[in-house]
Amino acid sequence: MKKIIKLMLVCVSTSLLLVGCGGEDKNSDKGSSTPGLNRPFVYVAQQVVGSIDPAKVIDETEIIAAVNLYDPLFYPDVENEKMDPVEHLAKSYEVSEDGLVYTINLRDDVKFHSNNPFTADDVLFTMERMLSIGQGNSWLWNNVLTIDNVKKLDDYTVEFKLNNAYAPFISSLTQFFIVDSKLLKENEENGDFGQKYLDSKDAGSGPYMLAKWDREAQLDYKAFDGYWGGWKDNQFKDVQMKIITEEATVKTLLISGQADMVHQWLNFSNYSEFEKNDKLVVQKDPSAKLQHIPMNMQKAPTDDINVRKAIAQAFDYKAATKDILSDSVQAVGPVPIIVTGHNNQVEVIDQDVEKAKEYLAASKYSGDSLKVEFMFLGDNPESRQYGQLLKDSLSKIGIDVKLLPSTWPQMTEAATTVEKTPNLMLISDTLKYPHVDSHTYGIYHPSAQGSFRSTSWYNNEETTVVLDEARKQTDETQQLELYKKAQQIISEDIPSIYVANPTHNIAYADYVDGYIFVGVMGYDIAFYHLSMK
């Protein structure tokens, strides 16, 4: 027995010795060319990056990768802390009077990571690739563009001729990441537009090049020296994006100084804890996200406007925005308040149980014992709290709520038909492109039905006409007026309980400078904008 114990001790000592002679500081695992940081800048993300092919990116982490590896034609106006698009690879643009022809002049000083120069051919190839692959953000242009209608006028000018007027076209180009056509054509396999090549490599002109990609764990970026925007000494030249899903680990990494910035999806209490740490900064901004509870307008009893009014009036907004969402702003209609074109004249509903009872009495279901179904993400603690809150709020007016905790695939499936869609669903809807159109036309136009965004099955002819008209309008002021009018009509129809524009939280080390949140998904994690103080 002593021998066994001795053997165990020897094994443990040898291991410890080997471990000890590893001798490398955990914070200096790689060199970094950023003064003051002896390791790469570490950002912790919450979700695995499925693809870095700009024709396929769709989730937040994938868009973060695209934003850092590629350049779009237009970029949110980060300098002025606004989401509205400004020229990026585009130098200037003109729109025809009918709003159908966009002529875009391109920069002539841009090089791809391969050192190939950026020209109009790359824009044409990128759009052809996007529409042919038909994934990712291709839906933005599917119904308005055909590849034959994209023309090269000269090496640095392209013309897009739209099939129909599309007001958010320039905004949508913030999601149009240009690929190196020459490189991808050289690496094309069986006409795949270089998809296989982009499985593990990049073909962009963005500030960073892909250094290493460990699919389930980490994505490393290295500064592209030839970036047309240039580099300053205190910017982060080496960046690691680590994928960690466990909240406790994310916290430990940030507090122990092994990470410099962590994602926005932690439980609210974690950010409160970070706020007490004087070496960390927690930045809070109203987000461009709408958290709401759409009501199925084609299913009883929520097909009656008075029932919908009663539900909206009975809901406890204060508990939702203060307690569940940790001091978030109450939503004012369907469009988040930070979006240009938001209508702040829309009526904000507060909890009023007596008024709710009056609406219920005026409904065609008056006197009936009412029951509604409420579907939400069952594995999300905040969603579960919403369930209890709604059940409690509606019990005060005699409506019974059947809770349906579900998975995301179940929720998207339920959104596909009127019959499958429950009366109420909890939805968080992020702006898809930096334009008011995203949360008006994108949710309330009949063409949007069948997705999780449109589970109210809203269909008002007047709204449809106004939204169609808004898309055609080229004068920006008049265009925004039409979108505001649409918001007014929509809100009066009560298709949703508009709960909140949840606060966007992000935490980072106090030496990090330059973080700006503009509301467009993924663009706040553009490492190029960050630097050491």
Partner: protein, 333 residues
């Protein structure tokens, strides 16, 4: 022996076929539209139809199953909806990390569990036995993920002696995919120590429950042997106590322990998921979790198949090892 191995390997085929059939059907009847999820909320009906055709999801389920089985023979485990690649490629990249973690955990479990089990049996009902049994009970009762977070908090955050996450930061040549083995092969001492430093906490968290199980099994079986006639005879011949324990008692007691080790090793690969999540270990956990969340049919089937395959293989190995410990077990029979 050869015939036995052949027979056992042949017996794997119906087991795996049953497993594939079950998982294949379950993943397809799970509620939710995976193609819509993969393409995003704005995907047009045409895009969804095109993707379904590309994946063969428009075929009846029996045809899909036949195509899947046919694909397996050519190394095609189907395309992952999330990564757009052959699932086999994705698994090839992530499985070595999970396997290495499970292997090291099993080594720790055996190295701790067997000696402590023997010690507990020898010192039956004295303070050492009670202490070991408390340790064993705790090992079984404490959830692995909780232990993982606790170890991380104490050793990585408070004491700062171990890294919080990852598999290693020093480059190691990729030969087998197992960093420890690869650094040994290439004589990369810095890489070896770096890998050990990274694997120690995850492996300890994962091995606690297994070590406890092995310890309890060893103790119980050793105690069963104590009053056997051959032990009394050996002792009456004046054989050294150590020799009696190790050569005679342990050898007889080890058959059931071996079964436990086999069963536990298979489940370690599955249990590694929770620990991998806490330590940001780049194994199959993230891949499997995302696969389930996205209802990525092929990824779910692929991961389950690989885990099932290893479970079965390990059981065959255990069957073969029985003969080493007990010659009465005739493999041919």
């Amino acid at each position: 022996m050869g015939r036995f191995i052949g027979k056992r390997l042949f017996g794997i085929i119906p087991t795996l076929f049953g497993l594939i059939l079950l998982i294949f059907l379950l993943s397809r009847i799970m509620p939710g539209d995976s193609v819509r999820l993969a393409l995003g909320p704005e995907a047009t009906p045409e895009q969804i139809v095109a993707m379904e055709e590309k994946l063969g999801l428009n075929n009846p389920i029996p045809i899909q199953f036949i195509n899947y089985i046919r694909g397996l023979f050519t190394g095609d485990m189907g395309m992952s909806l999330r990564t757009g690649r052959n699932v086999l490629l994705d698994i090839k990249e992530t499985f070595p990390a999970t396997f290495e973690l499970s292997l090291i955990s099993m080594i720790i479990s055996v190295a701790v569990g067997v000696p402590l089990g023997i010690l507990s049996a020898i010192k039956n009902n004295n303070w050492a036995d009670h202490l070991i049994r408390i340790f064993s009970l705790s090992g079984i009762a404490l959830p692995r993920f909780w232990l993982a977070i606790l170890l991380q908090l104490v050793f990585s955050y408070w004491l700062g002696v171990f890294p919080v996450i990852g598999r290693g930061t020093i480059e190691v040549a990729n030969i087998t995919g197992l960093r420890i083995i690869d650094s040994l092969i290439t004589g990369n001492i810095a890489g070896l120590s770096d890998s050990l430093l990274h694997i120690l906490l995850p492996a300890l968290s994962l091995s606690m429950a297994t070590a406890a199980q092995i310890m309890r099994m060893t103790r119980t079986n050793m105690l069963d042997q104590v009053n056997k006639d051959y032990v009394l005879a050996a002792e009456s011949y004046g054989l050294p106590e150590n020799l009696v324990y190790k050569r005679y008692m342990l050898k007889n007691a080890f058959i059931s322990v071996l079964t436990t080790i086999g069963m536990q090793f298979g489940s370690l690969i599955g249990n590694a998921f929770l620990v991998e999540t806490v330590f940001g270990w780049p194994g199959m956990a993230q891949y499997a979790i995302q696969g389930i969340m996205y209802k990525d049919y092929n990824a779910i089937t692929g991961v389950t198949l690989i885990i099932g395959f290893f479970f079965v293989i390990i059981n065959v190995i255990v069957d073969l090892l029985y003969g080493l410990f007990d010659p009465r077990i005739k493999l041919e029979s």
